[in-house]
């Protein structure tokens, strides 16, 4: 057996879901988040290879969200998992078309986006899997199944009824109900120090929280910090 065959076994298969808040308040930072997303795969490959970690497969998925209680039609917009670099053009097109608008009140449907991410079609076959959810939002989130949201005809089916249910899906050590694989999962939050993000940071394992001030958030975020934070979590 050659050395290359050994190494071929033990490269990292990385799936990343980018949950992006595209409500009105994100206007000042959405361009930066989009720029992060568009250069993400190249920067990640670079940082990972600098750490001696090779990526065998990289797939990205985007979930753009607003607020089901405000406007049902555009509350969630998402891609499939797109394999890079083959599907990079599809990814670019989707991200470039994102624009900030709507949202209504301050909290948004970030938890629904997170629930969809947790239940995404993650890679289950390759070795050294890493399943990373990255949340970009400047707002707190409505509780899951908030009355004004569940009446929306686009409200996602089958997601947990509350944050405890979502934690069960996220899982913990030796959890029997988890949807996510304990060894693979990571949650990176670029979000305010407010409900539910602060509770999640405190109670869920394998999370990293870049807290910001609600309503002003993400302004001081820099691309290299985002990439480094994610790469170091792998």
């Amino acid at each position: 057996m050659t050395s290359d065959q050994y190494r071929g076994n033990l490269r990292y298969a990385v799936d990343i879901v980018l949950c992006i808040d595209v409500t009105e308040s994100m206007t000042p930072v959405l361009d930066m988040v989009k720029k992060s997303a568009l250069t993400f795969h190249e920067r990640l490959n670079l940082v990972m290879s600098g750490k001696g970690k090779e990526i065998s497969q990289l797939r990205l998925k985007v979930i753009a969200f607003r607020d089901f209680g405000d406007f049902a039609e555009d509350a969630i917009k998402e891609t499939d998992f797109l394999v890079f670099p083959e599907r990079a053009a599809d990814f670019d097109r989707f991200v470039r078309e994102l624009f900030a608008s709507g949202g209504g009140d301050v909290p948004e449907s970030g938890l629904e986006a997170l629930a969809l991410a947790i239940n995404a079609d993650w890679e289950r076959g390759l070795d050294r899997r890493r399943h990373v959810i990255v949340m970009f939002t400047d707002a707190p989130a409505h509780p899951l199944h908030a009355p004004e949201a569940v009446t929306a005809h686009t409200y996602p089916q089958g997601i947990p009824g509350d944050l405890d249910g979502l934690l069960e899906q996220w899982g913990y050590a030796r959890s029997q109900t988890a949807v996510m694989e304990n060894a693979a999962k990571r949650l990176v939050l670029f979000a305010p120090d407010a409900y539910p993000w602060n509770e999640i940071t405190e109670e869920w394992n394998m999370t990293l929280h870049f807290p910001s001030v609600a309503g002003q958030g993400l302004a001081d975020l820099e691309l290299h910090e985002i990439i480094d934070t994610i790469a170091n979590s792998l």
Partner: protein, 338 residues
């Protein structure tokens, strides 16, 4: 021991340093490699032997670059070093001084806490996470005492660095169990799971331990995951060790070959400390392991790994199931969840 700088084989990134010692009934070697020059987060491997009391220690320390990426110090040339880099070296220092002082095994944790807490804490980070730690490092050490034809061994470890015994009859036998929720050695290799316990300055940690009596002659070694975590199956680490031994004329060449081997397959910094106790010389050691080397090479070292993914998976599981009983015979049992 004198250090010798070794470069990897053509195409293999990184370079390594080796140490070796040939004494009376005692052969020792150390191997240390880094993926990028100056950035290696493994500390140099530890080996010390006190002739007057016939006792010694070997150990390895792997600073955790992901959770310990915060800059911890700036060197005189302006380069910064991460908390992982500093943590591994401080832990090595702590273990060495603990051994020199002849202290009880139970006091090692206290000594490590003292050494790590001497470093001022970092500036508050923008990132909040229990995944991040200050000065995090793994450790695997074996403190031994030679007495009545036996080696009385106290194994101490935290994280996923490992200690092993290597014998002609049983092959490579793990003396430690990784601190991860995943307890299956092959799954650990495939998943690279997060560690549940590592040495660090800002969170609680434990030093796991077990005591063993091994007959002389015996070979003991400690290795970081750069050595054992990038092979096809756990059996292949033994293949590398014995292949390099059998191809060598002396301890130094064995160490140099290990550098070249590991740079060829690893994706990480790698360090290893090894001592052969009760062997009068390298020739005898090599001769004693010749048959075992042939056996593991024939069983696991060949190029029979199927190319197709599913078949390769089955091959890997079959190989592991065959190898596992002997590999785990000295391993402490898994800790049952409360």
């Amino acid at each position: 021991m004198t250090a010798v700088l070794i470069e990897g084989l053509l195409g293999a990134p990184g370079e390594g340093t080796v140490w070796r010692y040939d004494g009376d009934d005692l052969l020792a070697l150390g191997v240390w490699t880094e993926r990028s020059r100056g950035g290696g987060e493994d500390a140099e491997p530890l080996f010390a032997h006190r002739v007057s009391t016939a006792e010694g220690i070997l150990g390895v320390f792997d600073g955790l670059g992901g959770s310990g990426s915060t800059a911890a110090c700036e060197l005189s040339d302006g380069t910064t070093r991460s908390g992982a880099w500093v943590g591994a070296r401080l832990a090595r220092l702590g273990v060495a001084s603990w051994f020199r002082g002849g202290h009880a095994p139970e006091s090692l944790r206290t000594r490590l806490v003292e050494v790590l807490r001497a470093v001022p804490p970092p500036r508050p980070s923008k990132i909040v996470s229990s995944m991040r730690r200050w000065l995090p490092t793994t450790m695997a050490t074996v403190r031994y005492r030679l007495t009545g034809g036996q080696a009385e061994c106290r194994v101490l470890w935290a994280g996923d660095s490992r200690a092993y015994a290597l014998s002609p009859g049983w092959g490579l036998q793990a003396l430690t169990r990784d601190h991860t929720d995943e307890t299956d050695g092959l799954e650990q290799l495939i998943c690279d799971p997060p560690m549940t316990n590592v040495i660090c300055a800002d969170q609680e940690f434990t030093i796991d331990t077990q005591v063993l009596l091994l007959p002389l002659p015996s070979v003991l070694l400690c290795a970081t995951d750069g050595f054992h975590g990038y092979v096809a199956t756990p059996a292949h680490f033994e293949c590398h060790l014995l292949r390099a031994m059998q191809e060598s004329c002396d301890t130094r060449e064995w160490a140099e070959r290990l550098v070249r081997h590991v740079l060829g397959y690893t994706g990480d910094d790698a360090s290893l400390s090894l001592v052969a106790l009760g062997y009068p010389g390298f020739d005898r050691l090599r001769a004693d392991f010749a048959q075992r080397a042939e056996q593991v090479e024939a069983r696991y070292g060949g190029c029979d790994r199927p190319a197709e993914e599913e078949a390769a998976r089955r091959w890997r599981t079959r190989t592991w199931n065959e190898y596992r009983p002997d590999y785990e015979r000295l391993m402490p049992p898994p800790v049952e969840p409360l």
